[in-house]
């Protein structure tokens, strides 16, 4: 029986804007619900602070970086300190592609934005499956 590796999912910390909150919520939806048993939380602040368990996992196993904007902090951080993620998501670019407006607030997502987060989370979940199948 082929053992599928768990996938580390890392969101940008995204304090600057609602895109960061969207990124974070979508990531949590995957970690907490959609692919609970198949994913591992990589906490970016902890990772940046040098936590060995986060670094170790990201070096050994595939990761998915979820960035709120085109600065791609999560993707770059994982690449720099561990290895290049197996996939990266740019939430800002996704929203543009879907013709969806960015969240107007960063603290609380409204119902519409929560639905957008779910949509992003579904994409992330599919990517988890894809990476697991390919490994």
């Amino acid at each position: 029986m082929k053992i599928k590796p768990k996938i580390g999912v890392v969101s940008c910390s995204g304090e600057c804007c609602g895109l960061g909150t969207l990124s974070r919520v979508a990531t949590r939806m995957v970690l907490e619900d959609l692919r609970y048993d198949q994913t591992v939380t990589i906490c970016l602040p902890l990772f940046l602070a040098g936590e060995t368990q986060e670094h170790g996992f990201a070096k050994e196993y595939p990761t998915i970086a979820v960035d709120g904007c085109n600065k791609h902090c999560a993707y770059k951080a994982i690449t720099k300190y561990s290895k290049e993620p197996a996939a990266g998501f740019d939430v800002e670019a996704l929203l543009k592609e879907w013709g969806v407006e960015e969240p107007k607030t960063r603290r609380v997502l409204d119902a519409e934005n929560v639905e957008v987060a779910k949509r992003i989370a579904e994409l992330l979940a599919e990517k988890v499956d894809e990476i697991q199948e390919a490994s």
């Binding site: 969101s11 940008c12 910390s13 995204g14 304090e15 600057c16 960061g20 974070r24 919520v25 990531t27 949590r28 939806m29 907490e32 939380t41 906490c43 970016l44 602040p45 902890l46 940046l48 602070a49 040098g50 936590e51 600065k71 902090c73 999560a74 770059k76 951080a77 720099k80 607030t105 960063r106 603290r107």
Partner: protein
Amino acid sequence: MKKPILILPCSGIGKSFGSIARDATFRVCDELRPGKADTLCLSLLVMGDEEARQKVASSQCIVIDGCPLACSKNNVVRSESNVVAEFRVMDLLRENRGLKPKEVTFLDEDGEKLAKILADKLAEKVDELVEESP
């Protein structure tokens, strides 16, 4: 006009404390003290973004950490910074023993309460710092 106080939460995604730190920061910056408090992406700072580095170097910074791992403080002090105050969500939990904030993605009732308590303390601190600054 006085320079805004910079509030830097840890935004830890694995525990409710990170979400509380983040929520409280946004309450202060966007609702309670707009224009007097600001925040920026911690990861941008650590990844060497020049604008972020200059902003941190030239501002009075308040760090908020969710748990004793102190990621915000540890990351901020590695950069040129002036940390004038530190808050820890865990300390607030000790002061408010009945609260058990468990949810991370969306704060539960106890998480909201704690975030509000923290936000009020932060706002007070911001007022104090703004008052003192030239």
